[in-house]
Amino acid sequence: MERYYQPEIETASREQIKAWQDERLVTQVRHVWDNVPYYREKMREAGVTPDDIHGTEDLHKLPFLSKDDLRRAYPYGLVAVPLKDCVRIQSTSGTTGKRVVAFYTQADLDLWETCCARAIVAAGGTNEDVCQISYGYGLFTGGPGLNGGSHKVGCLTIPTSSGNTERQIMFIRDLNATILCCTPSYAAYLGESMKEMGLTPDEIPLKAGIFGAEAWSEEMRQSIQETLGIKAYDIYGLTELSGPGVAFECSAQSGMHINEDHFIAEVIDPDTGEVLPDGTQGELVFTSITKKAFPLIRYRTRDICVLTREKCSCGRTHVKMTKPRGRTDDMLIIRGVNVFPSQIETVLLNLGYPANYQILVDRVNNTDTLDVQVEMTPEMFTDNLGEISRRQKELVDSLRSMLGLTAKVTLVAPKSIVRSEGKAVRVIDKRKI
């Protein structure tokens, strides 16, 4: 039996969802026009005023907001309520030099945590569960978001934060954690570590995992599920929009339901900005219609995905998004070919390699080079040089058929690729240096 945190919202009719969105969008557009000069200026440039917006069908008239806008408006330029009404900030890692600071009122935090609570319940969580949050706490939204959601569901919450793998495993075992929340690469690492300790899936109390904040493939899901003996659910979110919980997976494990009572999703052609029909791959664009402190109108996420409104077996009616197939800014162009790291991961996992890998891109004699570094494992190792070379060649061939270009495959020593306790660094592109 499927369980919901807020059944009346999560299974509302499409008409009801549209009615909520229409009303909330009109209010939100008026709110940003009245309180954020930056938005007012952008809307004036686009020749649109709040009077032109009567519902979701008018959404396309509004200008897009990009990460560059967020940077230009840093730190207070997009804040739509007096600072005395804000109670929290969260921030992106800024690894790409584009640190974003997002503001929250108490009500904003509340709705964010509610979204996370829906995700936990969709993963089977109840107040009987012990939920270990191994996402980083602090400025990163992963820890605080799931922590709040876990409290709302009533789980016994273990706020381990990221890192200290031995302690993570100790708490999982000693306190019988049943739900694990962290990045998929860290889940894989924890699984690997427990396997090395000789623990079988039956001896690991976990039953479900909620993993997000980085790209992961279906094959990686299978491998995590097998090692930990759990069901692994994807969760999606952006600090800009609140954090994790903008969308989450249900028992169907076939895409993430977007919390449409809080966020309107569109998919656009990243080149022309044209809105694309459901079922078409494009860049995901979000409008937050309930957040008051830091509302984003038509924010371009750079995530590439597909939306589908087909009926879901879980009974939820909210639109589903596929796992992002890559980011417009993750996409590597190598020798003129578009390459997403997730494609490389799919090939590796299909052939039984560990999920830990690194992609090195360089330019030698004006030609791009792609070097995929994979860790040697005891299972893969044999005394036979020919056999290892054959496996290496098999990997090169599979990569060629997936990517349409030739990559070099380098086998490296175990544990030599730095493990992620936050977001994994999968790609090193030396061409930019």
Binding site: D383, I388, T410, V412, A413, P414, K415
Partner: protein, 143 residues
């Protein structure tokens, strides 16, 4: 039969030394050593005095390795010594995948060869039939 330990090493400065450092720190005495390499990695094949201890310290230091049964053959350190052994194997139809030599031990007068062959039992029987002495792991420890 002798147990050979094969260790995965990256082909970069210091990688091999990282392994020999582990062996040195743990007082492992190597009897024979051979390195097979490709452009980006190699396999170090070693014969040691204490197989159990070596595999334990390598595992602790996170070196990927495996243990392979190989033939150790004692042959006279004179012209034609190796030829005699290879002729026996050829006549028995046993394929040699790789082999390497090492000098006799601290007290020995024989030379030793390590053979990795397709069929250990068949090779061993053929050598024994021709009176060619093979060495066992214990002898590697005692050398």
């Amino acid at each position: 039969m002798i147990q050979q330990i094969s260790v995965f090493v990256e082909n970069r400065p210091g990688a091999l030394r990282a392994m020999t450092a582990v062996l040195a720190e743990n007082g492992i005495d190597m009897r024979a050593f051979s390195l097979a390499e490709t452009s980006d990695f190699g396999i170090a094949r070693i014969i040691v005095d204490d197989v159990y201890k070596t595999t334990t310290v390598l595992r602790d230091a996170e070196f990927v390795h495996s243990v392979t049964q190989v033939l150790g053959v004692a042959l006279s350190d004179t012209p034609g010594g190796l030829d005699k052994v290879l002729r026996v194997l050829a006549d028995a139809g046993v394929n040699v995948e790789y082999m390497y030599a090492f000098l006799g031990g601290k007290k020995g007068k024989d030379a030793y060869m390590i053979f990795r062959v397709a069929d250990n039992a068949k090779a061993s029987a053929a050598l024994t039939a021709k009176g060619i002495r093979q060495v066992e792991q214990q002898e590697m420890t005692d050398l």
